[in-house]
């Protein structure tokens, strides 16, 4: 075994030994980040409407002693915790947007062992954990050599297509050693690859001069159903793993009026970029043909598209993360990401996504996070940052 390798193992072993004590300390220091979870979580933050939550993040950065936090042109809030050497940096990112609209009542309930409310796991908790890092590191007596770059990124979900994270990475000046995306959900999550994804919206319109007497004439609901049936005929390979999900359908508003328009939302994910390309072509052909045959207007809009990307399972960042999880009593579950991790890996940064605690009813109004497992979840995050800082995760 090479000397460098032995040094790494010794350093890692030293960090792992501290985990049980750290879980305890972090649980004692929990109030501040639980409070931030509630206060940030109660500010509605739909994608493209994150401004108020982002301003609150900037206030918190400042209150936590970080100098000159900024909001960039993409709506991301970021701040630096200077390291003792500052030759390189570690990027920790948590998305600030949520799937819930402003109209949803953003009220978080706090019980003895849990917290509940829309968007608490995805991603108020992740955001609060990221914000808490400077104080937690201080509480744990950890001084990093690298700068720590904290980012609350906007415009991550849905149509936003990782616009915030990609924008930040394009303009980031300091070289980063590695990146971590923080999500509330779910403890044990270990993502080190980004799945190729295509998200689209197919809109079908019945034109105003539509011939209602022609054979097969009907309203938008019947047509959209017919269209879905044709799409379902597209062969989907098991290997490489590929999936087509219909995620939303909007059509009609009453009992007795044939609607004139319908919208279908879908997502294709695949381990093979070519398959995604082929399926996109097939969908376009189906839409064109269906339009011609039925006299309706069918159009497909691709709202988000991203390439497959990955760092190897054997990458020291992944290996170290697994060791830390194991020591913290967390069972790793490899889970390819369709989120911000793609932007990080595609920009050339070794990166992983971690989840912080166990979650129920994810993306429902009664989304619930459990507090007991959270302290191990936070410990894995802090320990991984320290391992990156010590060069243990360098390839």
């Amino acid at each position: 075994m090479e000397t460098q390798e032995i040094d790494r193992e010794t350093a890692l072993s030293g960090l792992l030994d501290q985990i049980p004590e750290r879980v305890k300390t972090i649980s004692e220091k929990r109030d501040s980040f639980l409070t931030d979870t509630v206060l940030l979580g109660e500010i509605p933050s739909p994608t493209y409407g994150e401004d108020e939550r982002i301003r609150a993040v900037v206030d918190r950065f400042r209150e936590n002693g970080l100098s000159s936090p900024t909001i960039d042109e993409f709506g991301n809030a970021s701040a630096h915790l200077p390291g003792t050497e500052g030759q390189s940096s570690i990027l920790v990112m948590a998305h600030a947007d949520s799937v819930f609209s402003r109209e949803v009542r953003h009220e978080i309930q706090v019980g003895s062992g849990h917290m509940r409310g829309p968007g608490i796991a995805d991603n108020a908790l992740g955001l609060a954990a990221m914000i808490a890092l400077p104080r937690l590191l201080d509480d744990l007596g950890i001084r990093l050599r690298d700068d720590l770059i904290l980012v609350a990124n906007s415009r991550s979900l849905g149509r936003a297509n990782l616009e915030g994270a990609s924008g930040f990475l394009e303009t980031m000046s300091l070289p980063a050693r590695a990146g971590i995306c923080v999500e509330g959900s779910t403890l044990g999550r270990l993502s080190y690859s980004g799945l190729g994804t295509l998200r689209g919206e197919i809109t079908l319109q019945v034109p105003s001069d539509y011939d209602w007497k022609r054979f097969g004439a009907s309203g938008a609901i019947s047509h959209v159903t017919g269209l879905i049936n044709q799409i379902r005929e597209i062969p989907i390979p098991k290997e490489p793993k590929t999936q087509l999900v219909f995620g939303g359908l909007r059509c009609g508003s009453s009992f007795n009026t044939s609607p004139k328009q319908g919208t279908l939302r879908f997502e294709i994910t695949s381990e093979d970029n070519d398959i995604i390309g082929q399926m996109e072509d097939q969908l376009n052909e189906i839409c064109e043909q269906f339009s011609a045959e039925t006299g309706t207007l069918v159009s497909m809009e691709v709202v988000a598209k991203r390439q497959n990307c990955s760092i190897p399972f054997t990458h020291p960042l992944v290996k170290t993360t697994r060791s830390i999880m194991q020591e913290a009593g967390i069972t790793p579950k490899v889970d390819p990401s369709t989120g911000d991790l793609n932007a990080l890996i595609l920009s050339g940064l070794p990166a992983v996504t971690l989840g912080l605690t166990t979650v129920e009813n994810l993306r429902e109004i009664n989304e619930t996070v459990q507090l007991d497992p959270l302290y191990a979840g936070m410990t894995q995050l802090v320990t991984l940052i320290q391992a990156i800082d010590q060069g243990i995760c360098d390839s």
């Binding site: 109030d31 639980l34 509630v38 206060l39 009220e107 978080i108 309930q109 706090v110 019980g111 003895s112």
Partner: protein
């Protein structure tokens, strides 16, 4: 009188945002050597108490040491109120265990009264347990005027009604009992007190030296009695009020509000009686006073409402003549 009152409204009405600089506020508090206790009276509040204790303690004791003591005083909850409150670090007391020699009465006012004995602060801040959008402003907005201005001894909260934002003009936004009962009563008997925008709000902060000198109704009348008694002792200048923006809480049934009004009326008339106003009724005021808020400014709307009366028809000569001739 109106001129003085207008001036009072300007001088003694605040917005919580006036006190956003908590570092400065804590410095001022320490300079004056003040100790502040926070008291939350509870009865079966497990759904909201956790969040209140977590946020207020974390922000106002740990991050900014504005509060020196944080107590939950409970009337014997059957749910997990005490467990949850304790879990997040509050000092938890049963009202019945405080001053046992005076006995145990059931009601929110009892807990507020016993807090004066149990807690050590020079200022006591009371916050209801059912606020679902709790935020540190609910406390610092109330204690700040007491820290900054020695002549003020009692600070009441008032709130917005967000539904009225779109018009740019919103009414004072009191609850139903405030608008239907208290504001008309104050307009009739204590017009100066009608400058208190939400006299029934359950959030207020006061100096020990005034709290220890007034009686506490244990039920619904406690907020009303505080205003009447302190007004009688010190006049309007002792009060201030702070806009705490939006407060989300339980909506009460009309029956519950009826019961509440009954309790308040008892307190109110007891005081009128004690002040000799029932036996020697003064001329009743004819000005009805309410509020509107426009572009952050508070205006009192004074409207003359004279309930003119007609005599019994039999006393009218024309009527008697018509009846006699028919």
């Amino acid at each position: 009188m109106n001129k003085i009152n207008e001036n009072w409204l300007e001088r003694n009405t605040f917005h919580h945002a006036d006190f956003w600089d908590l570092i400065k506020l804590v410095e001022e508090k320490e300079k004056k050597g003040l100790k502040i206790s926070l008291c939350i009276p509870t009865l079966n509040e497990e759904k909201t108490i956790g969040k209140e204790v977590l946020i207020l303690r974390s922000e106002l004791m740990e991050r900014y040491p504005l509060i020196d003591e944080f107590a939950v005083i409970d009337s014997g909850s059957k749910d997990k109120t005490l467990e949850v409150a304790k879990n997040y670090g509050a000092d938890v007391y049963l009202a019945s265990d405080i001053l046992p020699e005076v006995g145990d009465k059931r009601g929110k006012g009892e807990n507020l009264w016993k807090a004066i004995h149990q807690l050590k602060g020079d200022i006591i801040c009371y916050v209801d347990a059912d606020i679902s959008n709790i935020h540190p402003r609910f406390v610092y907005g109330l204690v700040a005027p007491l820290i900054h201005r020695d002549e003020i001894s009692y600070v009441k909260a008032f709130y917005d009604r967000p539904l009225n934002y779109s018009s740019g003009l919103r009414p004072s936004g009191g609850g139903r009992v405030t608008e239907i009962l208290i504001r008309p009563l104050f307009s009739l008997f204590f017009p100066e007190l009608s400058h208190i925008i939400q006299p029934l709000s359950g959030e207020y902060a006061a100096r020990r030296e005034v709290l220890e000198k007034i009686p506490f109704p244990i039920g619904y009348g406690v907020e009303t009695s505080h205003l009447l008694d302190l007004y009688a002792m010190h006049g309007l200048e002792t009060f201030a009020q702070t806009d705490l923006d939006r407060r989300v809480h339980r909506n009460q049934t009309t029956n519950a509000l009826g019961k509440m009004s009954f309790g308040i009326l008892q307190t109110f008339f007891n005081r009128l009686h004690a002040q000799g106003k029932l036996d020697r009724m003064p001329d009743l005021e004819t000005f009805y006073r309410r509020f509107e808020v426009e572009e952050g400014k508070y205006h009192q709307l004074v409207q003359e409402v004279i309930e003119e009366e007609r005599p019994p028809m039999i006393e009218v000569e024309g009527y008697r003549n018509r009846m006699a001739s028919s």
